[in-house]
Symmetry: C2
Subunit: 273 residues, 2 copies
DNA sequence: CAGTGGTCTAGACCACTCC
DNA sequence: GAGTGGTCTAGACCACTGA
């Protein structure tokens, strides 16, 4: 199902009408068994799910316009008004941007994810970003509490990462990350030869996992011995612990991480609605 | 303009078609000068603004249905589809709830404001809520930093509150609150004879101020002498400081507060999108 | 049963962008 | 000027609620 689709073919114009840009819904409007989202769902939600899949599978490059409302409506055999409703929901979720007179575009991951820099360290900014380093990567059956958060079955494995961020050679953040292995096998391979500054865009580009929502729980805790050693601080130094559960657009848990920042360096912003 | 409207008259049924339920837009569709939102705005936004004003002024009780889409559309002389778009935006902002077969209702403030309990203290819950106490209330010209956040002119006054929350006779939270006096005069009077558990619903009921969005900035700070005294803790005890700017639906700043929680008691949740 | 909101259609006219 | 999305209309049929 999750064949990689090479979007680099004809990235700009003169799109061939080939398989890669075809609706995953069958032409007659019913659903192929493999793509069966509940057919009792309203049409616009079925179309939304289908279109979202195509976006996640990179059917269109970031700077390439989707087909116009009219063309998409014709392709899915629905009215333009209904297609507009589909696109409106995608705009609302930050998946696409629409520009009058130009077209509809896949939103860039960097612009989409306000989640990238919610935890900051004092004295740092977008320009002076702490350097990420992965200090451990293994596959493992996670602690029960993590397995529960990720809705895993008892023996399901995870990809575990221990990552730090440093600023001026001083470690300012230490985090433990668990990812359901089933969806993140490609990430393991990727991280063996790459050190990306952010992980979320890699989840998307390597694993076709598009993160949509996060729930953060913050508490203050004294550092235990292991974490204190990472920071080269005394045990029991006060730190802030941010526990974050990430969900995809279907509400399925995608990542659980707990991040520690020594209290003096801690800074965090959130917009609440 | 902000006449109090008594919504207790005919709270259930048999609504008279009196002034209180009339559109604030003029019948011919143009705008009265006092209510002039920009007439170049699309019709659905003008209607939205008008309807929102009526909701804030409590033209309908919380358990009373608004007129149906059809009736509202007729009243504003727009198509039902456009009225639906208006109501959709209000649903999206959590202002109203729509129930198929029943009608459209003003959302309850308590359900609307997920902001009510984002900062918690360890060991507390909705059932065991810490008790709020207002320990100081004055009108004052705020510090420059606060005035800037609230977009006040140099000599604009604010209502200043110092409030604490206690749990089992132990103070777990101390907060300093600044409100633009112009919009909050009635609050001052109200708080002289009431001790509500939450302020936001009072902003709404007493001052017709409906809060829509908050931006929180969290940092860890050692307590200064004054704050340490409030908690009866040593100076320099580590605490978390949450600075919150609240905005109304128009994006105008409505409140600025800085809350302190001793680190050991600190707990905070946020949903990030 | 009448009345409500939820979905969907098939048009219209406009503002804006790019060629 | 051709093509895009933004607004708006005027219907239709449906699912659900409450009397």
């Amino acid at each position: 199902m999750l064949n990689q689709v090479n979007s680099k073919i004809n990235p700009k114009k003169n799109l061939q009408k080939d398989e890669k840009n075809a609706s995953l819904l069958q032409k007659n409007g019913s659903l192929s068994p493999e793509n069966a989202s509940d057919p009792r769902l309203p049409r616009y939600l079925q179309v939304r799910d289908d279109l979202l899949k195509r976006i996640v599978l990179r059917s269109w490059a970031a700077d390439e316009a989707l087909p116009s409302e009219e063309k998409l409506a014709a392709e899915y055999e629905i009215a333009v008004g209904t297609m507009r409703k589909v696109l409106d929901t995608l705009v609302n979720d930050g998946i696409v941007d629409r520009v009058r007179g130009r077209g509809t575009f896949v939103a860039r991951a960097a612009e989409r994810s306000s989640m990238l820099h919610f935890i900051r360290a004092k004295g740092t900014s977008r320009d002076a970003l702490p350097v990420a380093e992965i200090r451990a990567m293994t596959t493992a059956i996670p602690p029960a509490a993590v397995a529960e958060k990720l809705k895993l079955k008892p023996r399901d494995k995870t990809l575990y990462l221990h990552r730090t961020r440093s600023f001026n050679d001083e470690i300012v953040l230490s985090e433990h990350i668990w990812l359901p292995l089933a969806r993140f096998r490609k990430l393991q391979k990727y991280l063996k030869s790459n050190s990306p500054p952010f992980l979320y865009p890699i989840y998307e580009s390597e694993c076709d996992v598009l993160v949509s929502r996060a729930i953060d729980d913050l508490t203050a805790k004294p550092l235990n011995r292991a974490n204190a050693a990472v920071f080269k601080l005394k045990t029991k130094t006060m730190a802030i612990c941010v526990e974050r559960l990430m969900l995809d657009h279907a509400g399925e848990p995608v990542e659980w991480r707990s991040s520690f920042v020594p209290a003096e360096r801690f800074q965090y912003s959130a917009e609440v609605r």
